[in-house]
Symmetry: C2
Subunit: 249 residues, 2 copies
């Protein structure tokens, strides 16, 4: 049996939802309401001590980290194949996914926290916030909540994240002007792992991602949006109020 | 033909050297002298636009990122096997390697830059340093050089890195008190990828890593040091003066 603990079909939850849908795998969906801080409940922290979604439970094995979960799904359910057959292309898939995890996603995340999570944090009563912070297992997450509940990130930090987003989109554009998909001419986990980072950008940051500066990225995004697996993943529950959806499509 | 562009048998170069030696693969060694900034020479940057070692070139395919290189070697030369056969253990191998790349290594790296690279940077003439900085492709690397050439990292940043190192060693100790190796009962890339992070710690930070607080980590380190592949990797050229070797064994 496959069970997935996940939030909305955005960010890291979306990476695994797309992969499951591409493979046509049925799963028991456990919706974790991040706005109710269910990811910090003792029950969930027993499952993932980091208190983060998504978490896959497959026949008792608990797998965390969305990028690793997708490799796991590929190891266990190799068809349809989402890892290139050729080893060098497979390496490019992993190099790109690593770049997304370590560079692209943290930059986007900071903007998302500043734009969206800040509004949530600042609406919470101080004593209640104290109680919420105490339960967050990772110091790094606690610090981010404390930052956006206070004066948020500095203009210098935000500018650097915007610079990194531009580096990321430019790098994507360069790759996609040479080949159809991010690892090679074949659709792969590199594309699956990147979709949720890019989906909201044309609306959220039109100066960064538009037809003039990044036509190949937009074409890639259109092809991603047209995939049945992506459409099915987008139909999963989304309880975040429309007014707070910074990065959804 | 396998070619490896690498520096001393420490840090990320060491991860790939161990993997090659474990698999008994012959390779053409290209020593890149980091203290002469050969990693920023136009010729090297053409190979890896990030200007970083190690780089593997196999039958024309250029593979970067040590963690990805080791998965590539496993894909192409599966014997002797360094990825657990069982998918859940393989996922634990990847989760741990990701933790090393994103948390353990950056913390250790900051201390290493502060202790060792700072002395190098501060000995360089200002105009010469300017010229070196200009050639560094990654802004993040340029910023680190400028930081250690100046007043270095703040006490708060260094304290946070030391805290993260303790979290890392404690997490290792917890895992290794339950099982023989970092992914499972079997030696794997999780161990290969971690060795160079830990090898220098007992000497460099004896309060962090000692027989009282982390006996299982020390036992693991002794077993790693006894491996012929690790010993062969350690015999690779090391041109860093003894006085500057912060993290070697």
């Amino acid at each position: 049996m496959i069970e997935l603990y996940h939030a909305e079909p955005v960010a890291n939850s979306m990476k695994v939802l797309i992969c499951l849908k591409e493979k046509g795998l049925g799963f028991v969906s456990h919706y974790v309401d991040l706005l109710r801080f269910e990811q910090h409940e003792p029950e969930f922290v027993r499952l993932n001590p980091n208190g983060q979604v998504p978490v896959l439970v497959h026949d008792g094995a608990v797998i965390t980290e969305s990028t690793v979960i997708n490799e796991y799904l590929e190891d266990v359910f190799p068809e349809p194949r989402l890892r290139p057959r050729e080893a060098a292309a497979r390496a490019r898939m992993r190099i790109w996914s690593k770049f997304v995890d370590e560079y692209f996603c943290p930059a986007l995340s900071m903007i998302g926290w500043h734009v969206m999570v800040r509004r949530i944090a600042q609406a919470i009563d101080k004593n209640e916030l104290e109680r919420i912070l105490e339960r967050i297992p990772l110091k790094e997450q606690r610090d981010k909540w404390a930052t956006v509940a206070g004066s948020s990130f500095s203009e210098e930090q935000l500018a650097d994240s915007r610079r990194r987003l531009k580096v990321s989109v430019d790098r994507m554009e360069a790759i996609l002007s040479e080949q159809k998909w991010l690892a090679c001419q074949e659709y792969s986990l590199a594309d699956v792992n990147t979709y949720s980072m890019v989906a909201g950008l044309p609306r959220l940051m039109p100066k960064l991602l538009n037809l003039d500066s990044s036509p190949h990225v937009l074409d890639w995004l259109n092809r991603m949006n047209a995939r049945p697996a992506v459409q099915e993943a987008l139909e999963m529950p989304n309880k975040v109020p429309e007014s707070l959806r910074a990065f959804g499509t």
